[in-house]
């Protein structure tokens, strides 16, 4: 289990123990954290699991694969610290990762 911290745009913080191997998106969906829609179910085809990663984590996460940046073009208010949470597979290295959930997904 690895601790992932989700901050909603309404200012709530959810600190969740997510099983390694699941994605940050799945951790949110399975624990009913609002704001991550994941319409396509994790296929990198919809950009509705968009999150902002806390700056200090940006360089510690696995790099974006082809296609993630393309999908982020479609996200609601993308920024430099935007990621698709379906592409962040939880591992020990991510313990304490903090993500901000945008006000909207589309």
């Amino acid at each position: 289990m690895t601790k992932i911290v989700y901050h909603t745009h309404k200012g709530q913080t959810h600190s969740i123990d997510v099983q390694n191997g699941l994605s940050v998106m799945e951790g949110a969906v399975q624990n009913d954290i609002p704001g991550i829609d994941a319409d396509c179910g994790g296929g990198m085809a919809c950009a509705t699991c968009h999150v902002y990663v806390k700056e200090e984590w940006l360089n510690k996460l696995p790099a974006k694969e082809d296609g993630e940046e393309d999908m982020l073009d479609m996200a609601f208010e993308p920024k430099n610290n935007s990621r698709l949470s379906c592409q962040l597979i939880v591992s020990d290295d991510m313990d304490g990762l903090e993500v901000d959930i945008p006000s909207k997904q589309g």
Partner: protein, 338 residues
Amino acid sequence: MNKTDVLIIGAGPTGLFCAHQLGIIGLSCEIVDNLDKAGGQCIELYPDKPIYDIPAVPECTGEELTNNLLQQIKPFNIKFHFRERVEELKKDQNRWHVKTSGGIVFDVASIVIAGGVGSFEPRKFPVKECEKFEGSSLFYSIKDKSIFKDKTISIFGGGDSALDWAIELSNTSKVNLIHRRDGFSGVEASVQKVKELNDQGKLNLFTKYQLDSLSGDKLIESVKIKHDEGEIKEIKSDYVLGFFGLIMQLGPILDWGLNINKKTIEVNTENFETNINGIFAIGDICSYPGKLKLILSGFHEGALAARGCFKYAKPDEKLRFEFTTTSKAAQERLGIKK
């Protein structure tokens, strides 16, 4: 008024196969979809990507799967209504009346919702004042390109739609293309063409900029764009076009009184009927204990929902279970000549 036995909402794989199952048991149906063609997510999200888990089909693309399903339902001459979104639902004795965004009214015995994750709608700008100009000087799709002649157009986006329109409109209009990063998701040839046009001064390319605000009275007069590093530029603009792909939204179905849980519709697993008699839900849009969002599950759900529709369409008849291999009636419906 279009009178038919069943209205299917959604022309994705699940809706298409349900139409087949209705045809086999002798029920008529028509299909509504908000997109301009059949296939749903298969066509809109991954036409060229392979699918490996359709039973007895080791590998196929979304497009191939759609084409095969269309081929399979050809004998039933099913009527499609594309670019239509269902809006109003009314009960009229034993029938349902459904009205679409384009004003088509259906008179049906039952409804099968095979709407995936909702209807596809263009993704919009996050900036608030955009709504005010939408439809007059701000658009997310182009119906009549002649209005842009000799005007200044600011196009936002980095995919094929944004690039293609920037190239095309640069022939007759002054075009600004604005994108949030240096990379583009559109095809390389178009990216090169855009860069060439920019070098020749036939188009102005702004990368690492996003829309900040719009100004104008009734129509847009100028747009402000903001660089990653905070610098703001104001550019004159008669029209703004945004191409950010499509998003799926459940829309007016939410107000039909169905039991909705996490954007899905609750159904029973006997025939995939919802809490409202005569309204069924199948595919990604339905939920029940153990639900898997797989195309093959959608096929199973469609087969059972089709049979569930029978008693509403033909209350005085009894449905007999038959195999297509041996059923004369089914083969006649399929137009098989022996």
